[in-house]
Structures are given as structure tokens and as C-alpha cells.
């Protein structure tokens, strides 16, 4: 196995081989989970610290379950209960966590680049669980894992990502990962949330939902984040839903086998019609359960990296 990293900060600089290593290990862990057997590869005696400085349910819980499934000890710190609210710097927090003997830190932080900052500050493996609008590698890896389960190889597959791309770390990580695996990625949404500059990052940019749905092998919807977008990005949720929402009428344009993904949490009736979220083409809940196996693989590779080399 050719895994030389201690930290997972994003997909932008991962190689195809590294992505494949993570996903193959995730498959192994998924079989263990389905058969309810303890994995032979584990993190017994390792201490994983979940440092969540931004609200999160699904990612935090998935990392906790993943760590526990690998028999690791896991401690979760949320920003409300840490010294961060008392004004301690991230550097000080990191040094303290290192001093407490963490074998890996899973960090969610509102500032882009903070996992990189941590990895340069302390010699502890850092796993990015979402940094600002930058990257969310574990989410993109579980999306890719799910896509591969349903579509097989992803080269030349058309993947459409629809919604708030500008503020989305999920969109960026998926763009990097999917492009590396040969997929064609189309980013769709209002021009204010999908600026043309994304073409320079290798995506196709479109503001025409109907057209982009017709060719899609998979469509990934992103949450419209009311709290982030002031009124300036689009006039109203009603108008967004009307022009960019995935409703029953539009869903008919999709290929019969096209699958629908959403990283959650869903705004039912805003970016996606409630019945479509629950339809047979939706893989939203499979994404969540795949998230455990994928995060087990990430944790195992990073927290155990000193033993693997």
C-alpha cells in the first residue's frame, strides 16, 4: 500500500492512487460493518480528538461512530464547550490537544485553511472535516464511493452539482475528486452563486437547470444556506425554488437511472421537492451510511500512518 500521508486536508492534492486506496479500504470496512464483525485493522489504544468549531451533526457523529468501530478512544470537543469561546487562539488549542496525547485530530472549522494551519503547527495527523468554503474531503470521498457503487467507473460520467456552489466546500472537494477520476462535472445555479471563474478550475458552468439535467448520470443537490446568503445572491427562496429547485416536472427530464445525491441537511421544498428526496433514485441515506466506512478508512490511514510507513 502506497500511503505516505499523515493528514487528509483536501482532495485537491490527492492522487488517483491515494483516492483508490481510501475507497478500497472503505469497501473492506463496509463489508465488516455489514457482517457485524470487528475489523482486523483497527485503532485500538489510539486517541482521536474531534474538534468541532462549527455546528455539525452528521459529520461529527459519523466520525465518532467510525472511530469507535475501529476501537479507538474518541473525545469530542464542540466550540461551545472549549476555551475557544474564551478567546484562546487555534495555535494554543492545538498545542494543548497535542499535549493531552491525541493521535489524530478531526477538525471542523469556519475558517478556510485552518486544518493546514494546524498540520503545520503540530506533528499530529489532521483530518479536515470541513473548513469554511474550502474543502470537505470526507464528504466528497463518501459521495464518490456512493457514485461508484451505483455507476461503476466514473470516467466520462456526467455529474451535475446544483445549488450554492460559491460557499460550498462539498462542491469544491467533489470537483477536485471527480475530475481526477475522469468525470465531467457541471456546476449549475444562479450566476451569483456559480461564477464563471469555476471554469478555470476545470468545471463546466451552467445556469440552465433543464439542459444540465438531461445528460446527467447523477445529480448532486446542495443546500441553500439561508444564513449565509444575504438577499444579494438571489431575490428570494421562492424564486430560487421556481428557477433552480428540483421539482417533479424537472425530474422527468432526468435519465431513468440517474441518481440523486444530497450531502444534507435537506431543505425540503427549497432545493429539492420532498417526494424526490424519498424517491427510488435518491441515494441520500446510503450516502450517510457509506460515510461511516469511508471515515473509518480515513481515520485508519491517517491515525496509523506512522505504523504504515
Amino acid at each position: 500500500m502506497n500511503w505516505n500521508r499523515t493528514s487528509l486536508l483536501g482532495l485537491e492534492d490527492l492522487t488517483v492512487e491515494e483516492i483508490t486506496i481510501i475507497l478500497e479500504l472503505a469497501s473492506e470496512f463496509k463489508r465488516n460493518l455489514q457482517n457485524k464483525v470487528l475489523p482486523s485493522k483497527n485503532l485500538k489504544g489510539k486517541r482521536i480528538v474531534n474538534l468541532f468549531m462549527e455546528p455539525s451533526t452528521r459529520t461529527r457523529v459519523a466520525f465518532e461512530i467510525a472511530a469507535k468501530s475501529l476501537s479507538a478512544d474518541v473525545i469530542s470537543i464542540a466550540s461551545q464547550s472549549s476555551s475557544l469561546t474564551k478567546g484562546e487562539t487555534l495555535k494554543d488549542t492545538a498545542n494543548n490537544i497535542q499535549a493531552l496525547g491525541a493521535d489524530a485530530i478531526v477538525i471542523r472549522h469556519p475558517s478556510a485553511g485552518s486544518p493546514l494551519f494546524l498540520s503545520k503547527t503540530i506533528p499530529v495527523p489532521i483530518i479536515n472535516a470541513g473548513d469554511g468554503s474550502h474543502e470537505h474531503p470526507s464528504q466528497a470521498l463518501l459521495d464518490i464511493f456512493t457514485l461508484q457503487q451505483k455507476l461503476g467507473r466514473l470516467d466520462n460520467k456526467n455529474i451535475t452539482i446544483l445549488g450554492d456552489i460559491l460557499f460550498s466546500r462539498v462542491a469544491r472537494s467533489n470537483l477536485w475528486g471527480l475530475k481526477k477520476l475522469g468525470a465531467k462535472v457541471t456546476l449549475v445555479g444562479p450566476s451569483t452563486l456559480v461564477p464563471r471563474e469555476f471554469e478555470k478550475l476545470g468545471a463546466v458552468v451552467s445556469h440552465d437547470v433543464d439542459k444540465s439535467l438531461k445528460n446527467a448520470d447523477a445529480i448532486m443537490l446542495l443546500r441553500i444556506q439561508h444564513e449565509r446568503q444575504s438577499t444579494s445572491h438571489f431575490p428570494s427562496l421562492e424564486e430560487y425554488t421556481k428557477i433552480f429547485g428540483l421539482n417533479m416536472e424537472r425530474a422527468k427530464l432526468l435519465k431513468p437511472n440517474a441518481i440523486i445525491l444530497h450531502p444534507g441537511p435537506i431543505n425540503r421544498g427549497v432545493e429539492i421537492d420532498s417526494s424526490i428526496a424519498d424517491s427510488k433514485n435518491s441515494v441520500i441515506l446510503q450516502q450517510v451510511s457509506n460515510g461511516i466506512a469511508v471515515r473509518m478508512a480515513i481515520l485508519y490511514l491517517c491515525a496509523n500512518s506512522s505504523n504504515l510507513q
Binding site: E12, A112, G113, S114, L116, F117, R169, R172, E197
Partner: protein, 426 residues
């Protein structure tokens, strides 16, 4: 009396169009002609063969943080740092503690500067109270308390009515107005130049438009009121075009840029290194080229240091949380000299214009001139020596200088204010 004879130095003096090896004489605090030196007084001869003599540099924008005390910077420490960099006069922005928007604090700061500063330290007063843009400061009273310019830098007066009235009112007192052009609604979430790089890094964009809209505002206001306005820290290629057009039509507009904007571009931030988070942000290569040619052609008149000290623990933080700004008073000249070293034959002459002669005209202060009768503010430079500057060398209390660790061409050997040495490399 302290009399000096500067011998064999290469004199660079754009004010008098002198650029040749020549001797200079100083009696007391002023340059004099050879025949004016009193025969009876003692004369110290300094041989400057191989060295250059430029008028002392004049900075149009720096941030001392505190009048006295504090752990980031104060008038005493910033003035020593400036002397190291060849500066003989600097203009402190009003956002210091205490804030310079009232005559009492302005008087206090001016008196402290007279006591603590090793060079000529001048203050800019706030154009509006607390630089919040809602109400004009007592500009006339501030002038009586010793301020040399008005500005809301590092902010810009957002309300157009207040800005126009402020420019009109300050003109009555012959006070230069400096605008730091930043339209806030377009840039308040911006921590990096709005580009492919910021987009992939997930950083909020601070677009060129935010600067250019306010550059155009100053041009329009200056043209209509027929009052000069100085634009500080220009970073965008579009701004250079706007200023070029305005100047060609006779508008009284002047502008400066910073050493970091002509030295670096936004590729420097790809590691989220907050030491390259500047104010305005570093832009693209095309902007850098426009700034360089703007300087060469005279569209941009000056280079300010934009010296913004910050404590290490604040800069060693998350990129978007870390404050913007870098220090550069100690390295500015050498950085510029290095940047242009392969492009310009008359580099020292151009530097003297950008760093001294033009700033003296913009601020309407003495200096920037080596003619007899003028104050003997000057700097001695070794243009051949190379040096790697580090935080160990600086008198600044802060070390957030992106030029540290780089090999720069030219070294400041001595700085003189009113004929007295205020910095000596040895």
C-alpha cells in the same frame, strides 16, 4: 556648530535634476554652498565614494498603533524603524491609540512625537469622527493641533455627501486629503483578491471593483471641486487606467502604491500564510505590471510603506481571522531597488522621486530636496551591497514583514535628519 562636507558621493536629487558625483556641504541643519561655510568652524569630511546620497524618504502611510507604550508599535519604535529604512519624515495614520479625531489627542500625540521620534513624525487626522464616516472631525482644530493631512485610512468614507463635504472643508485649510479607496459593501467579506485562487481556496473575494469605484469617485470629486485628492495604496490595474486618464485631463489627482503590491501577487497566499494578507489584497501579475508601468510613466506618483505592525500571535492564526497588513518601513527602499534593478537605468533617481520628492509635494512639507538652503534630511546608500533582512535587525516591535529572509539589493548606510545622524548601519 556641526558642519559636514559630503565628498565624492553620487548625488541623486530629482528636485534639482541632479544625478552625478558631486560634493555637498551642510552647516548646522541645512545644506549650504561651499562658500557659505564659516571658515573658523570645524568641518567633518565624510568620503562617500561608491555611495549614493538621496533626499531622505517621506512615507505617506504607516500605522504606529500607539502613541506611547503598547507591545505592537509606538511612535518611538516606528520612528527608529523608519530611520533604518532611510526615512526622515513619516505620516502616521489616525487609527492609533488614542484615535486622532479630536484636537486634544492630536496635540498630545504631536507633543509625544516631538519628544520620542528620532525622525520627523507627522500625524494625519481622521476625516470623520472615529473614521466611521458619519460626521466630519473638527478638521480646522486638528490642523491647529499639528496634523498634516486628513484621511479615514485604512477605511474610506462610505457616505458620498460626507466625503465631498470633507474634501471641500479640508481644502479651506490647505490640508491634503488622502483617500484609501475601498467600497465596503463589495469588500466587507473579502480577505483575498477575487480570483481563481480565492475561489479554489474558499476565501471571500475583495474585487478590483471595490477599489476602482472609489478611485473614480475621488477623480469625479477632485475634478468637480478642483481640489487635489491623494489616493493611497492602489492595487488594481483598472485604478491605474482611471488615474492615467484623469491626469491626462488635468484632474488634480495623485496616487501611491506599496512595495508588497509591486513585489508579490496573490499566488503567495495559497498556503493561507497570513503574512501575505495585505490591505488591499495582493492581486494578479497583470495588476503588478500595470502598477510598475504606472510608476515608470508617472501615473503613480509615490510608494508608501503601508507599514502595519501586528503581533505574531495574531498573524499566526486562521487566514480569514488574522488581521491584514504587513510591516515594511525598514525594507521598503531595498525591496523597490531589488524589484526594478534589472529594468531601470536611472533607478535611484526614480526611487528618489517616488519615495521623497513627490511625497514632499503631496504632503506639502519640507524635504525631498538637496539644494542649498533646504533642511539636511538625506540618506546614504550602498547600491551594490546585498543583504538578507530578518526580524533580528529591525527596531520595529513587530515582525510581520514578508521581505524578511529575501536577499535584497542595496543597503541603507546612514540616515540624517536636519544634519544629524539618526541611523548608522555600523
Amino acid at each position: 556648530m556641526n558642519n559636514l562636507h559630503l565628498k565624492n558621493g553620487h548625488i541623486v536629487d530629482p528636485a534639482n535634476n541632479i544625478n552625478e558625483v558631486k560634493d555637498l556641504w551642510i552647516q548646522g541643519s541645512r545644506f549650504v554652498d561651499k562658500n557659505e561655510i564659516e571658515k573658523s568652524s570645524c568641518l567633518e569630511v565624510i568620503d562617500l565614494e561608491g555611495k549614493m546620497v538621496l533626499p531622505g524618504f517621506i512615507d505617506l502611510r504607516c500605522h504606529p498603533r500607539n502613541v506611547t507604550g503598547g507591545s505592537t508599535e509606538n511612535i518611538c519604535s516606528i520612528s527608529k524603524t523608519a530611520a533604518q529604512g532611510g526615512y526622515t519624515s513619516i505620516l502616521g495614520m489616525p487609527n492609533i491609540s488614542p484615535f486622532i479625531d479630536n484636537p486634544g489627542d492630536a496635540r498630545y500625540a504631536t507633543e509625544c512625537a516631538e519628544r520620542d521620534a528620532v525622525i520627523k513624525f507627522y500625524l494625519a487626522g481622521a476625516l470623520t469622527e472615529k473614521s466611521e464616516g458619519n460626521k466630519l472631525s473638527p478638521i480646522g482644530s486638528l490642523k491647529e493641533s499639528g496634523i498634516k493631512a486628513v484621511t479615514d485610512c485604512p477605511y474610506s468614507t462610505q457616505n458620498n455627501e460626507i466625503f465631498v463635504k470633507g474634501v471641500e472643508y479640508a481644502a479651506m485649510f490647505n490640508l491634503p486629503v488622502i483617500d484609501f479607496p475601498r467600497e465596503l459593501s463589495l469588500s466587507k467579506h473579502g480577505t483575498a483578491h477575487d480570483s481563481k485562487i480565492a475561489l479554489s481556496m474558499g476565501l471571500g473575494g475583495y474585487p478590483r471593483m471595490a477599489e476602482e469605484i472609489f478611485v473614480q469617485r475621488s477623480i469625479t470629486v477632485s475634478k468637480n471641486l478642483e481640489v487635489p485628492i491623494h489616493l493611497s495604496s492602489i492595487s488594481s490595474r483598472g485604478s491605474v487606467e482611471l488615474i492615467h486618464d484623469a491626469k491626462s485631463k488635468g484632474v488634480f489627482i495623485t496616487a501611491d502604491t506599496t512595495p508588497h503590491h509591486i513585489f508579490f501577487d496573490d499566488r503567495m497566499i495559497t498556503d493561507y500564510d497570513a503574512n501575505f494578507k495585505t490591505h488591499p489584497p495582493l492581486r494578479e501579475e497583470s495588476d503588478q505590471k500595470a502598477l510598475l508601468s504606472g510608476l515608470r510613466e508617472g501615473t503613480i506618483d509615490a510608494i508608501c510603506t503601508a507599514h502595519e505592525p501586528h503581533q505574531d500571535y495574531l498573524k499566526q492564526a486562521e487566514y480569514d481571522i488574522a488581521p491584514a497588513g504587513v510591516t515594511s518601513l525598514d525594507t521598503c527602499f531595498s525591496a523597490i531597488f531589488t524589484r526594478f534593478s534589472e529594468e531601470l537605468n536611472d533607478l535611484a533617481f526614480e526611487c528618489a522621486k517616488w519615495l521623497s520628492f513627490n511625497p514632499s509635494k503631496i504632503l506639502k512639507i519640507e524635504g525631498g530636496n538637496l539644494a542649498s538652503g533646504m533642511c539636511a534630511d538625506f540618506v546614504v546608500i550602498n547600491p551594490k551591497e546585498k543583504k538578507i533582512y530578518t526580524e533580528k535587525d529591525t527596531c520595529s516591535l513587530a515582525s510581520n514583514n514578508p521581505f524578511y529572509g529575501k536577499k535584497l539589493i542595496s543597503v541603507i548606510e546612514k540616515t540624517f535628519v536636519d544634519g544629524k545622524v539618526v541611523f548608522d548601519k555600523n
